[in-house]
């Protein structure tokens, strides 16, 4: 099999080398924030979903959250990005100087949630919020799209993209504002197995380059183990298991050490 190697795209711009084969750039400073969750509880009406949740996430950590369906993973992420308010307890974010901050946080949902009436690049511009000049916004959005290898599709309507491309556009939208904290709620849940693997590598690479704190919810324990510095199992509204994974990256799927951790996690979920 041969692939033609091209270094310019149709507009004559340089094409970046294929991302997965690229060595991550140096971190652009430690942008991540620490997260401190104390005695967090959330109920909907009388139904408690989360209770007495304590969690400390160091700045820049890649934390994966797994657990049975309905255990409150999405609820936790929604509380963290401010889409819901806790019933009791506190969430605080700690900046690099050790003081509390109000970080820029972003979330990627399971669905891409792109605006169908805006082009791909305009959708990415949405991620910048107000107060960025038109030209700067375009430049940043183009860079974010290039980051997820979607530069060629900048002018397309989202309806013309494949599922994986849409989710990459959603990721570019989340990354364009350079968030200090990124929540990902089963972002790969709707994708096929092959696309998932490429997307995992993509997420790992941008996280390594940008140094944000990542909270990654997934149903796939193997995926959690392959990507995360640390995996927690959520069960009945509290943390049932908390495992650090200090294997070197990039990790090889199915390595014995990882398989062992995966087994422990599965046992923790279905105990």
């Amino acid at each position: 099999m041969s692939t033609t190697v091209r270094t310019k795209n149709v507009w004559g711009n340089d094409i970046e080398p294929e991302y997965a084969a690229r060595i991550p750039r140096q971190r652009a400073g430690d942008r991540g924030v620490g997260i401190r969750i104390e005695g967090l509880a959330k109920s909907f009406g009388d139904v408690p979903v989360l209770h007495d949740l304590d969690l400390e996430v160091p700045a820049g950590q890649f934390l994966a959250i797994v657990g049975k369906s309905g255990c409150g993973k999405s609820t936790l992420l929604r509380l963290l990005v401010g889409l819901d308010t806790p019933t009791s307890g506190a969430i605080s974010f700690v900046g690099p100087d050790g003081a509390d901050t109000e970080p820029s946080s972003r979330i990627v949902f399971q669905e891409p949630r792109l605006l169908p009436w805006a082009s791909v690049i305009d959708n990415v511009v949405v991620g910048l919020g107000e107060g960025v000049g038109r030209r700067d916004a375009r430049r940043l959005a183009e860079a974010a799209l290039a980051e997820v290898q979607l530069g060629e599709k900048a002018g397309e309507w989202p309806s013309r993209l494949s599922g994986g491309q849409r989710q990459r556009a959603a990721l570019a939208r989340a990354l364009v504002s350079q968030p200090a904290f990124l929540a990902l709620d089963e972002p790969l849940g709707a994708l096929d197995a092959l696309t998932r693997i490429t997307m995992q590598a993509l997420i790992e690479r941008v996280w390594q380059e940008q140094g944000f704190t990542a909270l990654f919810v997934t149903h796939d324990v193997g995926e959690a183990v392959a990507l995360a510095d640390r995996v927690i199992v959520l069960d009945e509204g509290r943390i049932a298991l908390d495992i650090a994974i200090d294997q070197p990256r990039p990790r090889r799927r199915g390595a014995p050490d990882l398989a062992e951790i995966e087994g422990r996690l599965l046992a923790g979920i279905f105990k």
């Binding site: 149709v10 997965a20 084969a21 889409l83 949902f109 949630r113 979607l150 060629e152 990039p250």
Partner: protein
């Protein structure tokens, strides 16, 4: 071999310059003429029936007579005056009724307070056919322009109100939530998410209301007017000038079609993001 190297398969290999869709040729294809075959056939048959004396010209003039009537009215300038009068009434009725319906639809779609204050009342009024108000409207406004404006505006109001409200209320809540996470609020959320999301439904309302607009206008102009297509038809009736009556009907049909075409073009232009309006999706 590292994981990264194993994964080094491209996701989107650039495949050279994008191939442009071929330009549509200006020549009219035979299939484009197909819809006009039936009307044309009917006109030919009609002309033949008149020429052979199968139908009385006094009651049903031949097409050629209608064409002559058209020529007469055109040369005398009567036609232009009447079309202008009707068009001004139609457009002002649409603007007044349409914009009130649009604004109320938006307000009631966005604000719960506004909705509970006004929606029930409007839904009750909606069940009254606007033409049933003619006696009352004549008592209120007499038979002048105000009466016609009121009736058309009222007729146009409801389809636009209902469809705007429906459109705003049915914007995907997931997109609204996304907008909130990305810091949109108030005006920005409306401009970027709610309004574009409601637009397809608003267009449905607009096209509905165009039909009602002409219908109301026909009735209002035959009732009492000193200008307009309806007036032209009605005074022709008094002198048994059936050719002019038929001409008026044809002009109404053409104006109605024209209005629909304008709405359709606007729709195509603003909804080009929608796969249903993309060229390749059209058969």
């Amino acid at each position: 071999m590292t994981l990264a190297a194993e994964l080094g398969k491209p996701i989107s290999v650039p495949t050279g310059p994008r191939i442009r869709a071929p330009r549509r040729s200006l020549a009219i294809s035979p299939s484009a003429l197909l819809p006009f075959l039936l009307p044309l056939g009917i006109v030919v048959l009609w002309q033949a029936a008149s020429s052979f004396g199968w139908i009385t010209n006094r009651l049903m003039p031949a097409p050629i007579q209608v064409v002559w009537a058209f020529w007469d009215k055109l040369v005398s300038g009567e036609l232009a005056v009447n079309i202008q009068a009707s068009a001004i009434r139609a457009i002002s009725g649409l603007l007044v009724g349409g914009s009130i319906g649009f604004l109320l639809g938006l307000a009631n779609g966005v604000s719960r307070l506004s909705h509970s204050l006004t929606d029930t009342t409007l839904q009750m009024l909606r069940t009254i056919p606007n033409l049933a108000l003619i006696p009352l409207v004549i008592l209120w406004f007499g038979i002048g322009e105000e009466a016609k404006l009121f009736l058309t505006a009222l007729g146009v109001f409801f389809p636009i109100y209902l469809n705007t409200l429906h459109g705003v209320r049915n914007v995907d809540p997931q997109l609204i939530e996304m907008g909130r996470v990305y810091g949109m609020n108030g005006w920005t959320l409306f401009r970027k998410v709610i309004f574009p999301g409601a637009l397809p439904s608003i267009f449905v309302g607009l096209r509905f209301s165009l039909g009602i607009m002409w219908l109301t206008l026909i009735v209002a102009e035959s009732m009492a007017a000193s200008s307009g297509i309806g007036h032209m038809a009605n005074s022709a009736r008094e002198f048994m000038m059936t050719d002019v009556v038929i001409l008026a009907l044809v002009i109404y049909a053409l104006l109605g079609k024209l209005a629909d075409l304008v709405a359709l073009t606007l729709e195509r232009l603003t909804l080009s993001w929608n796969p249903a309006y993309q060229k390749s999706a059209r058969s």
